[in-house]
């Protein structure tokens, strides 16, 4: 089970690594283009975020040319 920044468990997997690799993009570049800090993007990438704003999700989908479902999946096990 993954745990968010405050230790609360959740079952959402973030596939930023996979998408970055597929697009040939670095975390720093993505952070620049989305307009959030690398620290926050790392928190999201490692599944430690407590929540994601629709505005952040929109920018991520725009920059990575993907759907929210490509970025996030629910994995109960």
């Amino acid at each position: 089970m993954i745990r968010s920044i405050d230790g609360e468990p959740h079952a959402i997997t973030v596939h930023l690594d996979r998408l970055l690799e597929a697009r040939g993009m670095t975390l720093t570049e993505l952070a620049d283009r989305v307009g959030i800090t690398i620290a926050n993007l790392s928190i999201l990438k490692n599944g430690r975020a407590k929540a994601i704003r629709f505005s952040t999700l929109t920018k991520l989908c725009e920059v990575l040319a993907c759907q929210p479902a490509d970025l996030l999946t629910f994995d109960p096990h």
Partner: protein, 210 residues
Amino acid sequence: MRSKPRNPLEPMATVVSALLGLTGAGIAVTVLAAVVGSGGIMGLGQSFVYVDVPGIVGGSDLQSGQWNLHDGVLANTTGYRFFTTHPDVRQRVWYTLTLLPSSVLFIGALLLVFRLVRGAERDGIYTAATARRLRTLGWFLLIGAVVKMVVEMAAANRLLATMVTNHVEWIGPIFWETPWAVLLTAAGLLTFARIMRIGVEMRDDLQGTV
């Protein structure tokens, strides 16, 4: 251009620091005066004690101004101040208790506000610790105001009883004075402490939001 944000802890931080300094200096001077014999503090080192009785209400002989004084007790008939220049130990204790609770409440509240401000400067304003310190201050004022009222009233009644031959109740209506302002302030602080605690939880939620 954005103006520099003002410190939200001001003017409280400056006022509390100044008041603490003045109070400390005042206590030091008064204690020194009591020690060298030219003054007194809370009835200690003082050659006389007195009790002020509020205006006549009417009704019982206590409230109608028909005072029967003990030997050695004088009364200022215009102001209803009863005083004796040769107080015994019991009278000194009661006199001290008519003054001490107010000072303890004031100094205690001042120290708690100081702790609140310093803690907020150190740990941050929107923290659980600051909300807890605010709640402690609220309870201290609420309980302290009630205790102060009862103790000072009972002490004033007892001191008066040592000065007059009239029957004086332990807790009577003569000195009853409810500190509404302090009680309302305390209730307000307790409410703000609750609001702050909820705000801290909301802020914690936002901290993990990307």
